[in-house]
Amino acid sequence: MVFLKFLPLLSIFAFLILWQCLAIFLHSHLLPSPENVARVLWQHCESGELPHHLSITLLRLVVSFTVSMFFGCIIGIALGMNQKLNAFFDNWLVIFLNVPALVTVILCYVWFGLTESAAILAVVLNKVPNVIVTLREGTRALDKDLLNMAKFYGFSQNKTLRHVILPQLHPFLMSATRSGLALIWKIILMVELLGRSDGMGYQLHLFFQWFDIASILAYTVAFVAVIQFLEFTILKPLDNEALRWR
């Protein structure tokens, strides 16, 4: 059991050794060693550049994630509960799911200008359909017997939502949240790369022009670390608390 606990760490350690060996073997600036990446990461942190751009990207992530989840949940639950509404919007949902993220980003910038709100809108438009689909399926899977029980005992809408519906939707909400975080930050980088003058995407674009692979990897490591931090400090505890009954 103790061994199992250390397996994830062991796997990261094995990856780092493999990376180091490859870097030594190739001896190319296209694959800097982990040690080199760590040094560059530290330099970017010390100069204040990385914290600045990282915080801007995180702010965009928080705003677009909140807006996407809010509207996605409301629309998803509504479509899951109302067959007619679902029939009316179903095709549009499929269309929006299949529009390439790049197209939405370009159109938003062209129509609304290279502004912050256009950037956020582009991210939201890409994410909302995924949230809608996940929550719609969750709502369709709600236990009708439990809803009948709530109706029979005269639960208020608020009480039904809190005690009967949301606990059933929890796995779907968590799934939308996790996939949302993963998808949104990738789209945000694209949005920043195409039309913003700050943020991780903008910086990565610069590093690409300079072929500065060490900086690209350093920024990636920093961002992945932040997302992992969110997972372990917010999402996991939330999940454990909500699923204590299992």
């Binding site: 017997d145 439990l146 029980m149 109706k151 029979f152 005690h163 606990p167 009954w245």
Partner: protein
């Protein structure tokens, strides 16, 4: 139309002229009339699919697509109805006690002592803080019965609550139900397709026709409760089938 109020003796008067499901040619219920007296335990006996659950849902207000009226009397205000569903309908993320307490509108007015008493009568005191997944099917049914009794209902509806239990467990739960009912004699409308179960529980048996559902025959169970063992129940059942030719088609 569900109407409340009425004389003091009659607790429930049910009259449904017709009820048809969407797309069906034959009505599910037609000219159904039944009167229940205070504290009476009535078993509705009919074949599976004859419309018993539809009837209970109509009385419970979960299904209002019928013409006719359901009058629940003996109360100046809206009567309290308890419902033991076919499935236990317990929220898996709440403990036994939390499931029972949730049905009370104001959590400050939860009758904790009464719930303790009911848990004790149903032999579930030690499971009060257990989650439904930690209970057997029989225990879950007992919790749903406690939940229905906890509001002190004027009318208790029970929709085949032992349907998926094995025979020994069903007998055990029905024995506990009877003990509970004798302790707190609410008016009960119990639906089943099992004649033996009905004879073991009821004061009066109400036999139902298949769709369209209406009352076919009403028969008092003449055996004293303490004498309802397997032998007496079986002989009463045979007598019924011999004496009433119209019941032979049902059983």
């Amino acid at each position: 139309m569900r109407r409340y109020g009425g004389d003091n003796m009659t607790v429930v008067h049910i009259e449904i002229h017709g009820k048809t499901h969407h797309g069906a040619e034959t009505p599910t219920i037609k000219n159904f009339k039944l009167t229940l007296n205070s504290g009476e335990f009535i078993c509705l006996v009919g074949q599976s699919g004859c419309g018993k659950t539809t009837l209970l849902n109509s009385i419970a207000g979960l299904d209002s697509s019928y013409s006719g009226e359901i009058k629940i009397g003996n109360q100046s205000q809206n009567p309290k109805i308890g419902f033991v569903f076919q499935h236990p309908c317990l929220l898996p993320w709440r403990t036994v006690r939390q499931n029972i307490e949730l049905i009370f509108e104001n959590q400050k007015n939860v009758p904790k002592e009464q719930i303790d008493d009911l848990l004790n009568l149903m032999q579930l005191t030690t499971y009060a803080n257990a989650y439904p997944r930690q209970l057997s099917e029989g225990m879950k049914r007992r919790v749903s019965i406690i939940r229905a009794f906890a509001i002190n209902p004027d009318l208790l509806l029970m929709d085949e609550p032992f349907v998926s239990l094995d025979a020994p467990m069903a007998r055990e739960v029905s024995k506990l139900l009877l003990q509970l009912w004798q302790n707190r004699p609410h008016t009960v409308l119990f639906v089943t397709h099992d004649l033996r179960e009905a004879i073991a529980l009821a004061d009066r048996l109400v036999f139902l026709t298949h769709r369209p559902m209406r009352v076919l025959k009403e028969i008092e169970v003449s055996i004293a409760r303490e004498q309802r063992d397997y032998k007496n129940i079986e002989s009463f059942r045979e007598q019924l089938i011999q004496n009433y030719s119209e019941l032979r088609l049902l059983f």
